[in-house]
Subunit: 274 residues, 2 copies
Amino acid sequence: MSAAHGAGRLAIAGLGPGALAQVTPEVATALQAATDVVGYLPYVERARALLQERGGAAAVAWHASDNRVELARARQALALAAQGRQVVVVSSGDPGVFAMASAVFEAIEQAPTEQAAAWQALDVQVLPGITAMLAAAARAGAPLGHDFCCINLSDNLKPWPVIARRVQLAAEADFAMAFYNPSSRSRPEGFVRLLALLRAHCEPGRLLVFARAVSTPDEALRVCTLAEAMPEMADMRTVVLVGNSSTRQVGRWVYTPRFYGLEGATPASAGSEP
Amino acid sequence: MSAAHGAGRLAIAGLGPGALAQVTPEVATALQAATDVVGYLPYVERARALLQERGGAAAVAWHASDNRVELARARQALALAAQGRQVVVVSSGDPGVFAMASAVFEAIEQAPTEQAAAWQALDVQVLPGITAMLAAAARAGAPLGHDFCCINLSDNLKPWPVIARRVQLAAEADFAMAFYNPSSRSRPEGFVRLLALLRAHCEPGRLLVFARAVSTPDEALRVCTLAEAMPEMADMRTVVLVGNSSTRQVGRWVYTPRFYGLEGATPASAGSEP
């Protein structure tokens, strides 16, 4: 099946945290229309599983790559789309949250002269997905139910002092927090250092949620206080949520109230946008 | 159709930004199994439209409420579930991001004595959805492709000084930012004040994205600099994204690079988690 030259398309799609039931119809449709699927091997495998369930896997060319080659992967996808193919780059979660979307636009911006015009003219679409921190938060209750921030601890993206400063300022601002890639092969001490940072700025009773592989058969959820947290609770597939100073538990649920810092306010006395 | 007493269930579901194609299968399944759907009127209408398209709307009791009654809505949903009904509370976007999940857990925690045990024992599930800032970011490119924070400007949730402090600290941390509910009936001057805050802490060329009603027929997207931004660009249905100091444009795309603060690093010289 040859695609008409010049009618190529690139979709950068988020597969969500793992379960097929959390892949949007929009993403599933893009995969069903694809001639080429590009991504990190485990995510390509998830896309293949989706198409096998719905039919259509046989028509697709699969381009699975290893970890740490985001820019090369983006260039490969752009080159295929520029040839007229219907390409889908797959990320876990949402493609715009520490995933492939930024890499694709970096590749477009840095395109070699002979590709630049073609790549900038491509039909590119970013298709959102359920990002890991929101899948994790949903399992725990509503820990991110108030102002929050998210920080990627993946090594090589920024110097450690930048991370340390952001955590300190986030704690001062009393944001709830979500940490992606807490345990990195190249920065294994990273999470030990993060816990030390958090202990310097947050109270011992601060609630943490360790959410591993949410929505997959390997899912594990753990709630504990900052005082109880240990580095080995986080691995490569874990997202770590940190409450703000108001985050609380009711039964097994962890949630952050909608209101903050209002003297005498009760939730019954005021409403908010729906 | 009467539900078996004691087999009640409450799902708190996110409908995404508007399009049916962005409602997860998991949420659609919960709606198809519901006896009762509870929510702010426009969201109940969206749920009804989904069921009408897929069949099953006739079997559901619809409980639509006005704005600003989140806690009452949560109590109504809990009471129905405690009677044994299959209840779905619907929010736009993701239910854990400035939506109904926190309100439900607040209601559980503050339950009157006679309801407390029953409400705490309920089968409650939070079903994530595509939150507005990620739907908006996907339309623009990848503006949230690096560490970011999100802040709700909705009035009555927190005093203005808290917002001002958080924006200042977020700018110092050089987070990208997402602002929900920038234009509020009760705090109409809020967005004027936010722009003034941003101008005090960010450079005039900082990129902003105003994303209105993403994925609906009323969708509008606007990219401009902080110097060009005007209060009337944001209304009740707009989410405002603010880049960090590295956020850039390539063609029509706005994106924030994955790397930050690394001397001499080129994206080609280092990788990151997939």
